[in-house]
Each structure stands twice: as C-alpha cells, then as structure tokens.
Amino acid sequence: MQTTSSSSLQQNEEMRNLPHIKNVLNDNSLTFAEKIISIKNVETYGKKSTTISRSGDIVVVDVNLAMAQDSTGPLAIRSLNEMGIDSLHDPSKALLVIDHTFPAADEKVANLHAMMREFASKHNCMLVEGSISHQHILEYLAAPGMMILGADSHTCQSGCVGAFASGIGSTEVAAVWATGQLWLRIPETIRINISGIFNKGVFARDMILDYIGKIGEDGANYKALEWKFSNEDIRNQFSMDSRACISNASMECGVKISVFPVDVITRKYLDENPRINNNSSDNPYMKQIEIHPGNSAEYIDEFEIECDKLVPYVSGPDHIDIVHSVEELENVEIDQAFIGSSTNGRIEDLEVAARILKGRKVHKNTRCVVTPASVRVYEEAIRRGYVETYLEAGAVFTNATCGACVGTHLGALGDKEICISSSSRNFVGRMGALSSKVYLASPATVAVSAIEGKIADPRRYL
C-alpha cells in the first residue's frame, strides 16, 4: 500500500506524462469525459497510461478527492475495517463530511458521527462538520480537471467548475481511500446548447426542471451532460451558484457527470475563493487543468434550450419528471415551504428569498424553513441582513445541513402534509411520512408560495 508521499509521486508521474496530456488536450475529437479520463487513466497500478480512451471503455483512474458523508461514511469505514485495511493511500485526498443530520438528531446518529470523527483523526484526513459536502467542496476544494468521486449522488455538482465529479457507493469510496484509484466506464455525452435570456421570475432551477421533465427521470442515465452557452450574454446569466444548481440537479435524470465550460466566470470564482487543502504539503488542488471539449467530438445527442421560452416550473408530487408550469398548480395549498439543500441553498437563493419575504409575512397556515447550504452561506446571510428579514417574516432560519431535504430533522413532514421545496427530490416519503407530498420549484417560487400559503407565481412579486 502506498502512503502519504504518493501525491508528490503522482505529480512527478503527471509531469513525465506531459506530452500525453498535451496530446489529449489538443485532440478535437474528444468530449470532456474522454479527455479527462484519458489523462487520469492508469495503466497498471501506479503507472500512467498514454492511451486515448473513448466512451464505453472501462478503465482504472486516479482520483484526486474521495468523499463520504454521515449517512455513507460509516459504511465506508466498516468496509475498510472488514477488509483489514488500516492505512489510507493519501489522507489529503480523503474527505469526511457530517452534513446530513447535523447536529445529531438522536443518539444513534451521534454515535455514527463519533465513529467518523475518530476515523478522521486517526488517519488525519479532512473532516468537515455543518456544511453540505458539495457546497464545501465548491467553496474550498473543487478545481478544473479534478477527478472527484463521492458517496453521495449529488457529487456531480462539482461539474460546475469543470471537474469530473460523480457519485459512487460507500465501499467504493473505501477502495479509493485505500488505493487512490477506481474503475470507471467512460460515459457517452449529451451536449446541451443554451440560448436566450431568462424572463423575470425564471431561474436556473426552472431550466433544469424543464429539461428533466422533457427527458425523464432516467433520460441521461449513465450519460455525461456538457452545457454550452451560445454567446457571452447567455453565459453571464449563469453565475457559479446557478451552475452548481444545474450540475447538482442533473442527478435527477441519472447523469454520471454534468459539466460546465471553464470560462471567465469560473476563473473569477476560483480567484475569489482560493482552493485550500491544509492537510497536504504539495497541495494537489492548486494544480488546475482546464479541459475544453473538442470541436469535432461525438455526441450521442444534442439538445437546445431557449431560456427566453421558459417559465417558472413546479415538479411533482412524487415524481421529478412530472413538471408543470406554475400556473397549472397555483392554489394547491401547502403546509410547509422549504428553501435550502445543496440544490438551492446558496447565497443567490437566499438573496431572492429575502427580497421576496422583505416586509411580508409567511401565511399563517404555512411553516417556512430556510436552511443555508454551508457555514459560509450562513455567515453571508447574517452579514447581508437576510436572517433578520426571514425572522421578521415569520420564517425559521436553521444551521447549515441537509435537514428537511432528507426528512430526518429540521422540517420533516407528517401524514398527508404538503410541502413546496427548493431541495433535490420529491420521491414518496423523501421528506417524511409516506403520505406526504413534495413539490419542487425555484427558491423564488417557494418563497412566494410561503407568503400565499399555496403554490404561487413568483412573477407577480419580482
């Protein structure tokens, strides 16, 4: 088993492999997925490959970051123990996040959290508590050209900065922690061309809900999505927060990865939010490789999205791909409105919710819960005065956690309750009782619905 010095070893290997990397980056026939995997592909254990890999190939890759959270980490630790593996390949690439039920909601959860803390301290790997993993990774760790795997399906969020990022299982994370590598199948890619400017009240979340409604819950199963902007004006309406929302929510049509181009917005975001990994002496996170898909790459499908044709959408209940325009569902009464989650709990989301709630009151029959996605978002919401606005409006502002999104604490639903939510999923029983119903929408639609006590159209408020 290799130990900590391997990341510098690996860097040397990558340097020696430079001609191959240049060839790959200049190859116009390759998609993003084909390029990055051709770079990360390893020939035999620890040695670099100089082969070009294509969609459908199954290869072993080097992984730059492997994450598990508090509902998948304990199983990963258990698997390592069962295999009798007690040293990690490179602890600076192992991340544990306590986010799903933070702070612990009961003693069983508390004991699993304790197990993670003990593991992290024993192995000196990264441990984060009280920020949602994907948001933490975006704020501090993800960089273009990284290979990020995580025992959480929404790991695909990091495609927003041009990383290959995908969800895997707990025992597979254990294997990556042990060896730094895993097998992957190179996905076929669907290219999505975006044109048009959003109308008032329409957001990135509406765009991805509409797309999933059109292609279906398994419409991109095993596939990569590559998002492409038709020009600079179109590009400029997609902030990093919006890209993160789209890459995250892409999971709901089954994707392996969902990647945005690395452009001025990416570079500005990375400049303003420096990558850090204090655990590592030679900091592999600082090494960024911008990977741009080739002009003549082969796509299995192309899709056009015209933003100016979109309206606010609501998905559900029970199925993500049942998508209605907000008008069709107006007047459905709700018991709870939830703004939060890794899908839509960023500062941009909290901003629009505060703008709508300012000087207004949450309906008397409705609870409104606002949960920031990370400690950093939480602090920023306080600094900007949003928290005061929420409290004055009669909403609840919680600590950063997954919370209501998984129905375990801070906003679980009772029998037959109806919730409109900016979170990721509306599966049966996702947020609590099997008979509860969840509708998904943008934070703006959720906020106006909180005020009216029923599903409502944000265009009347913005």
Partner: protein, 186 residues
C-alpha cells in the same frame, strides 16, 4: 463486526416480486432508517419500506425482485442493495438500473441482471431460478429463460465471490487491478 456476511449462492430459487418503473432508493430504504445504523441486518428490516413497511416479513429467502426501468434511481446509498440482500432477496432483475445502484449491487454482492425483454414475462409469485455463473433467469412456470446483459469479467468475478469486501479478503487486492490498460468495452 460480529454479524455473519451474507453470500448469495451461484444458483438460487425463489418467488418473484414484481414492481414497475422508477423504484428509487428512498422507496428501497428511507433515509431516516438507513442513517441511524451501520448494521446490515437492521437495514434489512426496512427493505422496500416505501412500498410496504412489512415487506421484509413477507418475503422468503431466495426471492427475486423483478422490476421495470430505472431500478434504484436517486441516492448513492449502498444501504439499498444491502437491505435487499440481508432481507433475503437473492437477485434483482430489471429492464434497466440507475447507475449508482448497479455499481453498488455488484460491490456488495447482490446480483443485478439487466434484461429489457423481461417486461411482462413474469407474474407476481412465479417460481424463478437464477444462475449467476451463467447469468440466466428461468421462469419455471413458463419454462422461459432470459439472459442478463453481460458485465465485465472482473465484476462477475467480484459478484461470485460475494462482493468487493469478500473478494479483497480472499485475494488481498481489488478486482480491477489488472495489467492491461483497458478492462473492456461496454
């Protein structure tokens, strides 16, 4: 870790439990149950909870799940195939699987056979026989047999050994560590 690992034999027989499309991981095991335990036998008590909280009591060892498209969509929870396996399910046969569930099933040693033409060919309660060395399912009522979509050799090997942990315990290495550059095409 005192509990005995369950290893599915290469040939099993059992009753069919037939489901439709898009059976997601929140149906297979809701978050609030799986997030509170690390014990596979405890997870098994919530297998298919979203469909029927008593499912684990109604099935017999060896029973097989037959499903439509996109079985196991949603979260990455490995507890989903674990709960099914420890509840006594010996295989899941579906028209298609969501990608993380498919990976997880092989990793934890639960046979997952993708057979698009299974649609409408198996009724609730049919007696089935499944052979994972040959990758075939037989419906003993109709005598029809169906073959699962091929998976790379290393995954089949891992499955036959009982999953990744059991494979590693035996060979002290991971099954995808091979000398050739490519593990295959699919």
């Amino acid at each position: 870790m005192s509990e005995q690992p369950v290893i599915i034999p290469s040939i099993s027989k059992g009753k069919a439990w037939v489901f439709g499309d898009n059976i997601n991981t929140d149906i297979i095991i809701p978050f609030r149950f799986k997030s509170r335990t690390n014990d596979p036998y405890e997870m098994a008590k919530y297998a298919m909870y979203g469909f029927d909280p008593d499912f684990h009591k109604k099935i017999s060892k060896g029973d097989i799940i037959i499903a439509g498209r996109n079985f196991g969509g949603g979260s990455s929870r490995e507890q989903a195939p674990v709960a099914l396996k420890y509840a006594g399910i010996s295989a899941v046969v579906a028209e298609s699987f969501a990608r993380i569930f498919y990976r997880n099933a092989y990793t934890i040693g639960l046979p997952a056979l993708e057979i698009p033409e299974i649609k409408g060919k198996i009724n609730q309660g049919d007696e089935l026989k499944i052979d994972i060395t040959k990758f075939v399912v037989e419906n003993t009522r109709t005598n029809e047999t169906f073959r699962g979509r091929e998976v790379p050799q290393f995954l089949r090997q891992m499955l036959l050994e009982g999953g990744l942990v059991e494979y590693y315990k035996k060979y002290k290495q991971f099954p995808w560590i091979q000398t050739q550059n490519s593990l295959g095409k699919s």
